[in-house]
Amino acid sequence: MSKIIEVKNLTKSFKTGDKELVVLNNMSFEIEEGQFFSVTGRSGSGKSTLLYQLGLLDHPNSGEIIINGIKVSALGNEERTKFRLKELGYVFQDYALVPELTAIENAAIPLLMQGFGKKEAYQKAEKALHRAGLTDRLESLPNQLSGGEQQRISIARAIAHDPKIIFADEPTANLDSETANQVMQTFSELNSGGQTIVMVTHESEYARLTRRAIKLGDGVIVADGKPENVI
C-alpha cells in the first residue's frame, strides 16, 4: 500500500495570553492509502487540532504535510480550497449542513462547485446518499430530519465527489448508540471499498472498529498500532 498522508515534524501551538501552548509537538507519522485510521486521546490532547492540520483547515507552525505526493502544507489559501474540494471529504461532529439546502442539495454542492451540471451533480449526490444509507426524504431540509439522517447527509456530501480521503471529526458524538453504530457501519463499508478514512474519536468502542489508531497525549503520539493495542 502506498502512503497517502505523510506528516513530518508537525508542530502547532496557540498563544494564550503570554504563554505559548504547544498542542502538536514535532509529530511525524504516515497513513497508507485505504486505511481506516483513528486518532484518539483524552479531551484537549490535540486530536481535532491534528485533524484540522491534515484536512487543510488550519496552518501548522512548522513541519510538513504531504498528501498523495503533494506538499499541501506549502499551498496558499486558494490552492488549499481547491485541494479540499477535489481530494478531501469532511464529516463534522454537528453535521454542518447548510440549513437552507435540502438533503440532496447539501450533498450536491461540492459537485456543483467542481463544475458538474445540475442533473449530473444531483444523480451523483443521490447515489452518495444511498451509499450513506439515506434512501428517502432527499428533498427534506436538515431541520426536518433526525440527527442520524443529518449525519448520513454529511457523509454523502463527503463521499459524493469520490475524494481521496475522508476526515471525520467525532462523527458519532451527537448520535445515540444505535445510530452511531449505523454510521460506523457505513464508514466500514466505505473503507472496505478502498476509501481512506481518518477519524477523530474519544469513544474507544468506535476507535476499535478502525484498522489503525494513534493515541495522543501532551502533543505527541503516545501509542500507534492496532486499535486494540492502542486503546
Binding site: 440549513p99 461540492p110 462547485m113
Partner: protein
Amino acid sequence: MQKQKRKIDEFLISFKLGFFLAIRQMRRSNKATTALIIFIMTLTFLNLVVVRGVLIGIIEGSTEIYQKYSTGEVFVSELRQKSYIENSPSMLETIKTLPWVESFSPRYLERGNIEADYKSRIRLTDAPNSVGAIIAGINPVAENNTTDLSSKIIEGKFLSLGDTNYILLGSSLLKKYMPMDSASFTSLRNVKLGDKVRIKVDGNTKELTVKGVIRSKADEVDFRAYVLDSVLRNMIGRTDYNVNEVAIKLKAGANPIVVKDALLNSGIGDRARVQTANEALPKFIIDVKKTFAILGDIIGSIGLVVAAITIFIVIFVNAITRKKFIGIMKGIGISAQAIEISYVFQSLFYAIFGIGVGLLILYGFLVPFINTHPIKFPFSDGILVAKAGATFFRVFLLALATIIAGFIPARIVVKKNTLDSILGR
C-alpha cells in the same frame, strides 16, 4: 491564455453556484424579514425618485402654468427697444396661416394705474386706494381659446365680447389675495365684484366695473388687469392695431421649435421676439428649477447612502449569523467567490423586487394620480416629474449601491479564517 480560460471557467462556476445558493437562501428565509427589506428598498427608491420629482414638479407645475395661461407654446413679444410689435396685423395673418397653430391671442399691454374708492376719498392728501399694474387688452374669445383663462376665474365671471365697461383683476392686485403692504408694493384694499374702479393709462381715464378676479399662480397673469382689446386700444390710441404680445397655442403633437423657426423664416424676427414657452420663462424660474434639481439630488444621494447602509447592515447581520455555515462551505471547498456572489445576488434580489414595487407604485399610481390631482403649493400646482431616463438612471444607481453594499459585508465575513468561522471563534 490557458490560465485566463481557467479563471473564467472558475468564475462561471462560482457565478452559477452563487445564484443557486442565493435563490435557496432567499426562498427559505424568513418571509416577514424579506418583505421588510423589500419594503425598505421600495421606500428608498421612492425617496430617491419622488422627492426629487416633487421638488422639480413644483417648478415644472409653475412653468406649465406659465405656458398654459400666459405664453402658450410659442410666444411672440415686442423687441426690447420697441413699445409694440410693428406691422402686427400682417404678423397675425402669418400666424393664422401656419398649419400647426390651434389658436392665438394677441394682447395690447400698457402700464397704468387702477384706483378704487376714489369717490369716497375726502382729501387729496389722503393716500389713494390704488395700484400700478399692466393693463392687458384682450379678445376674450381668442384668449380663452388659447389660454383657457376663464378656468382661472376665482370670483365673478370672465369677460365677454361686449363688456366694454368691465375689468378683470389679477388676484395679486388685491390685498385680499396678496396681503403685503410696503412702500414699494401696494394693492387694492376691499375691492369686491361690482365695485367701480378707475384706470388711468397714457393720461386717459376710464371707469370700469370689476367683473371677476383671476388667480392662476403665474405672476405674469395674476399681476395684470384685463379689459377688452378695443377699450385699451382706444385709451392708448393704438389705431394701427399693433399689439404687444401674442400667445400661440399649438395643435397636439406640434413641435414649438418648428413653429418658432417658421415664424422667424417669415421675417417676423426683425420686428418681434419669437420664443418657445421654455425660452420665455422668467430667469428666476429657470434658476429655481436648477436649484430644486440640485436639492433633489442631494436628498436623493442621502437616500442612496441610507439604502446602501441598510443593505450593508442586512447582509452583514445575515452573513455574521451564518458565519459558521460560510466557514463550513469554505471548508468543503466552496470558493469564497461563490459565497460572495451568493450575497451579491441576494442584495440584488432585494433591490430588484424593491425597485420593481417602487416602479409599480410610481408609474401605476403616483404619477397619474398627482398629475390629475396636483399638489396645491402656494405658487404652483406641483406635479410629479419622473421622466423614464432619469428614473432608470436612479434605478441603476440604487442597484449598483446595493450590489456594493451587499458585496462588502459578505467579503468581510468570507475573508475570516475558515476554521475560526467553523468553530464560531
